[in-house]
Every structure is written in structure tokens, then in C-alpha cells.
């Protein structure tokens, strides 16, 4: 953890706080930036609380002990943050697919059906048979984003487990979709032109990233249910 020190406390107060936050840092799982911010925020809170206690006449050692007790054990604090971190992780994964989906899809669209408006729905489906999978992934992503973000004031909030499941489902759909289009293209008689190489490369990179995302989301979900 980046060294933000307790400006008002001595080294004897610093050591237990460092040990506490170090233990907590090993128990928090989720996006690195979020974890760093949580630890920085808690370090500040601990510092404030210790300064508050010492201002009211308590010995520094007692103040540190009391404040750490008041904050809860590292495991309890990690457990309290687990839901938020799982949701943040699922949202980040889904946001990544929303951002990269068009980047990969554009190449395949240009390759398999360069004139989608002329082809009509059936023509488009014949050229790109994974379109239903993409529709399911988009609906899942939109639903999860809506029910874990600002719309939770009006919509029922998705549980962290459900958000993680949605991220897993979208990653799995991406793997299946990418593998399917690559296989279909390679099995066709079409030549391997530069556009095809770009599309296949983009899908191959996304398959790799999707496998990592799948493993990560599955691990986070499993750790939350233990």
C-alpha cells in the first residue's frame, strides 16, 4: 500500500495501524484502484480517530487499540466491503465488454456482411449466426448496469452474486461467440485477407481476456460465498 502516514502520530502508533491495514489489504479482493482507495480512506479514518482520542486525553497506545477495536477486525471490514467490491468488479468487467464489443464487432460486420441494411434481418442472421448471443449479452449487460448503478433508486438492486453471475455469463458468451465466428470463417472457403486477420486477431485477444475475466469473476464469487 502506498505510504500515507499518520501525520499526528508517532512510530509506535504507526506500526499497529500499518499491520492492521496490511492484513486488510490481503483480505480485500477486487479492482486494484478500488482497494487502494479503500485502504487510503481507512488509513485517514484511523488517523482521525486516533487523533480524536488522544486530543481527549487518552494515551496513544490505548487510543490506537481502542480505534482498531472500533473499526473491527480486518476480516470483518473485508467482509463488509466484499459486496461492494464484487459489484464494482462485475461492473468493470461488463464495462470492458461494452467498450470492446463494437471494436471487435465492427471488423466481423465488415467481413461477414458489409451491407447490413440491405441484407435485412434474415440475411444478417445467416451471415452472422451468433447475433442472438450478442443480443442476450447486450441485454444482460444493460440490465446489470441498470440494477447496480444510479437506477437502483427506482429499480430493484441486483445482488453482488447476481452481478458476478452476469459478468461470468457475458464473458462466457463472448468466448462462445468469438470461437464460433472464427470457426465459421475458417471453415468457409473465404480467403484469409487482411480484414479477416484483423477480425480474428481481435477475437483471439478478447478470448484470452475473457478467460482471465471468467476465472477472476468465478474466484470472486466463490470467495464471497465461503
Amino acid at each position: 500500500m502506498a505510504g500515507h502516514r499518520l501525520s499526528t502520530s508517532s512510530t509506535s502508533a504507526q506500526a499497529p495501524v500499518d499491520a492492521y491495514l496490511n492484513e486488510l489489504s490481503h483480505l480485500l479482493h477486487g479492482p486494484r484502484r478500488r482497494r487502494t482507495r479503500i485502504l487510503a480512506e481507512l488509513r485517514d479514518g484511523l488517523g482521525q480517530a486516533i487523533a480524536d482520542h488522544t486530543t481527549h486525553g487518552r494515551a496513544e497506545g490505548q487510543a490506537v487499540e481502542s480505534v482498531i477495536d472500533q473499526f473491527g477486525t480486518p476480516q470483518a471490514v473485508a467482509d463488509a466491503f466484499a459486496d461492494e467490491l464484487i459489484t464494482a468488479s462485475a461492473r468493470r468487467t461488463i464495462a470492458w465488454y461494452i467498450a470492446t464489443g463494437p471494436l471487435v464487432g465492427t471488423w466481423w460486420l465488415q467481413l461477414l456482411q458489409p451491407h447490413p441494411w440491405r441484407a435485412g434481418v434474415l440475411g444478417l442472421l445467416a451471415a452472422i449466426p451468433i447475433l442472438p448471443l450478442i443480443a442476450v449479452a447486450i441485454a444482460t449487460a444493460a440490465g446489470t448496469f441498470a440494477t447496480t448503478g444510479r437506477l437502483i433508486r427506482w429499480l430493484p438492486e441486483a445482488s453482488p452474486d447476481r452481478a458476478a453471475c452476469a459478468a461470468i455469463a457475458i464473458a462466457a458468451l463472448a468466448v462462445v461467440g468469438d470461437l464460433a465466428v472464427i470457426t465459421l470463417y475458417l471453415q468457409s472457403d473465404a480467403s484469409l485477407r487482411p480484414l479477416a486477420i484483423v477480425a480474428i486477431s481481435c477475437s483471439a485477444v478478447r478470448i484470452g481476456c475473457s478467460v482471465v475475466a471468467l476465472l477472476h469473476a468465478t474466484r470472486m464469487r466463490r470467495s464471497s460465498t465461503l
Binding site: A40, F81, E84
Partner: protein, 115 residues
């Protein structure tokens, strides 16, 4: 005054945090202290429950946060957004109704109260 068990506050913590932030921006520890002091020690919540609740409110867009550096230390200050002010008004109305109904049942009084 007896401290309340955190599970008793389930469902009301959001409104309490919004109310504490209504007068102006505060950092996490100050929010916890405000809850404690304004309830005369009754709402002495474990810190572990307050920080994640603040993060959830930020995700919902009801509060926003800004990082500042104070005395070499990074500090995150939370403030109510326009949606947060609206949500607080709604929560207050819901609470008034809920509290009147529960009081009526517990005290054996008719509800809604007729004057």
C-alpha cells in the same frame, strides 16, 4: 442511552447517512462521529458497516466524493448530490409514516391519528 444493534438499522442506514451529509461535505470518520453524537451515542455503528454503505450510496448517485490532501494524507469527503437531496426528502416522508404506524401499533393507538 443503550447503543442500537446494527441489524436494527437495516433499511434505514441510507437515510441516516444522507441526513448526516445534508448540512455539508464530510469525510467517512466525521460521518460516523456525527451519527454517534447526533443520536447521543445510540447510533454507535461499527466502522466496517458505514464506509461500504457510503460507497454504495455513491454508486447509486445519491452522494459524490472528492479526494483532497490534508497534512500529507489523502482524505475523501462525501457530499449530497441533487438526487441525494430528493431521496432524503422521500426517505423522511416514508420514515414519518412508518414511525407513526409502528408507534400506533406498539402503543395501541389508532392510526392514522384522527384529531
Amino acid at each position: 442511552m443503550l447503543p442500537m444493534r446494527p441489524e436494527l438499522l437495516k433499511g434505514h442506514l441510507d437515510a441516516l447517512l444522507l441526513a448526516v451529509l445534508e448540512p455539508g461535505p464530510q469525510h467517512g470518520y466525521a460521518v460516523i462521529e456525527s451519527l454517534r453524537s447526533s443520536s447521543d451515542g445510540a447510533l454507535d455503528l461499527p466502522t466496517g458497516t458505514v464506509y461500504p454503505a457510503l460507497h454504495r450510496l455513491e454508486r447509486a448517485g445519491l452522494i459524490a466524493s472528492d479526494w483532497e490532501t490534508v497534512g500529507g494524507r489523502r482524505r475523501r469527503a462525501y457530499r449530497l448530490t441533487a438526487s441525494g437531496h430528493t431521496a432524503l426528502r422521500e426517505q423522511r416522508a416514508i420514515w414519518d409514516q412508518f414511525a407513526a404506524a409502528v408507534t400506533a401499533v406498539l402503543r395501541g393507538r389508532p392510526w392514522p391519528a384522527t384529531v
